[in-house]
């Protein structure tokens, strides 16, 4: 590589350097925050004031505008983690490790929120906080997998070595999740016939669908913002750790 093209590295190489990545992506944070805030203001206004009540559920239908986006994110974040895991295993891309690590607690949080809002919604509409229904049960199992991944990250002292191992486990989980989903559905239908009220019966009118989509985008933007901040924090944490290690070596020498 000669001097001329060092400054014209591809963006792929440029974001592979943690310091460069932080410097380059820090400029994205403010626009991301603005987009998130704007989407939330619009979405919440639509959800609270511009959308009708449900003829059966009344005002409780508005829980949906938080519940559905978090449930979507619970799966989207696992997708992000799986893609990052492939990035770690195939290209050994250093930022893929960081992305994978920053996404895990966020995914666990959104999954827990989906379950929590679901329980709050289930109480007035189904009369119970929890039902061993297929979809809820598989979301619960997903939450357990997230907890396992977070615990696995924390069990390693050497985060660089941890990344490839966690990546293997994340991909095994990604292959397993459809199997879990299928088996839990089989199990739930065996034990209780579809007696539970389901949303996917009637098609939703536009007055509900529009705020729902805006809220989905708002929550996704929130995740992207928090994910980027988490990645920055992780890069800085690693730098601090390597500095501490160097200091300790100097002290020993």
């Amino acid at each position: 590589m000669n001097v001329e093209n060092t400054s014209k590295q591809s963006w792929w190489t440029r974001i592979a350097h943690p310091g460069q990545f932080v410097a380059w992506s820090r400029r994205l944070l403010v626009p991301l925050w603005i987009a998130t805030a704007a989407l939330f203001v619009l979405g919440l206004w639509l959800a609270f004031f511009a959308s009708p009540e449900d003829y059966q559920m009344g005002d409780t239908v508005r829980i949906m505008y938080v519940h559905v986006p978090t449930a979507w994110l619970s799966q989207f974040v696992y997708g992000v983690m799986s893609v990052s895991a492939i990035g770690t295993l195939v290209w050994r891309h250093p930022m893929a490790d960081v992305s994978m690590k920053a996404a895990a607690p966020l995914g666990a949080t959104f999954t827990a929120l989906a379950l929590y809002t679901g329980a709050l919604w289930g109480r007035p509409t189904w009369g119970t906080f929890w039902e061993w229904d297929g979809r809820m049960t598989s979301t619960l199992v997903l939450l357990l997998i997230y907890f396992g991944i977070v615990a696995l990250w924390r069990a390693f002292d050497d985060q660089l070595r941890a990344a490839r191992i966690v990546a293997v486990f994340t991909l095994v989980g990604a292959v397993n999740i459809p199997i879990i989903k299928f088996s839990v559905d089989w199990w739930a239908t065996l034990h209780q016939p579809a007696s539970v009220f389901r949303l996917d019966g009637p098609t939703m009118p536009g007055s509900i669908l529009t705020p729902l989509f805006v809220m989905v985008f708002a929550f996704t933007a929130l995740f992207l913002t928090l994910h980027l901040i988490g990645m920055h924090t992780e890069v800085r944490r690693r730098r601090v750790m390597s500095l501490e290690r160097r200091l300790a070596q100097r002290g020993a020498a």
Binding site: R164, W186, W187
Partner: protein, 222 residues
Amino acid sequence: MMSAFTAILLRDLKLALRTGGDWLTLALFFVMVGIVVPFAIGPDRELLSRLAPGIVWIAAFLSVLLGLDRLFRADHEDGTLLLLRLSDLPLAGVVLAKLIAHWLLTALPLLAATPLLAVMLSMDPPAFLRAVVSLLVGTPGLVALGTVGAAVTVTIRRGGLIAPVLILPLAIPLLIFGVGAITTGPGPDQSGTALLLLAAISLIAVAVTPFAAALAITSAED
């Protein structure tokens, strides 16, 4: 290549059989879980026989998870695993050999102990036969998933605790279809379907997990 495979398999079996009765302790644990449950839920024979499939599978689950740590840890600590990586046999083959040895040492004793549990939990003979078939078909998948857990945690000193936490949620399909293959009611009898699905998941797990476990071991020791 085949001889290396059988050599590893025989070595693991010999080591386990000569260095005391770990496999016996595991079978004992399996039976004890089954014996403890009636104390918790009462000696009602009807209730016990209805819960028996679930109890048998929970006991098998716990025993297999308990034995996971022995799969790679000792070999990792004395450096054998490093030598095995240098052999002609691909590491996935080594893992498969160790998986089979581990299944013979941990799951087969459980199968042998099942009649005892069947009597204790008052299972009728057809249910007992279904339980044996279900365990025979399902435990290889359980051990296979366990190898991933053991491989992922092999370099962690407190990995013995974390591997079960990782593997339990992934093994839920095996539990569902394993119990489903034993119970026949209420409603239409779907134990045959469940057994086939259990076999499918088990076979997929045995076929795929050695590669994942091998990948985890190579990246852990780099």
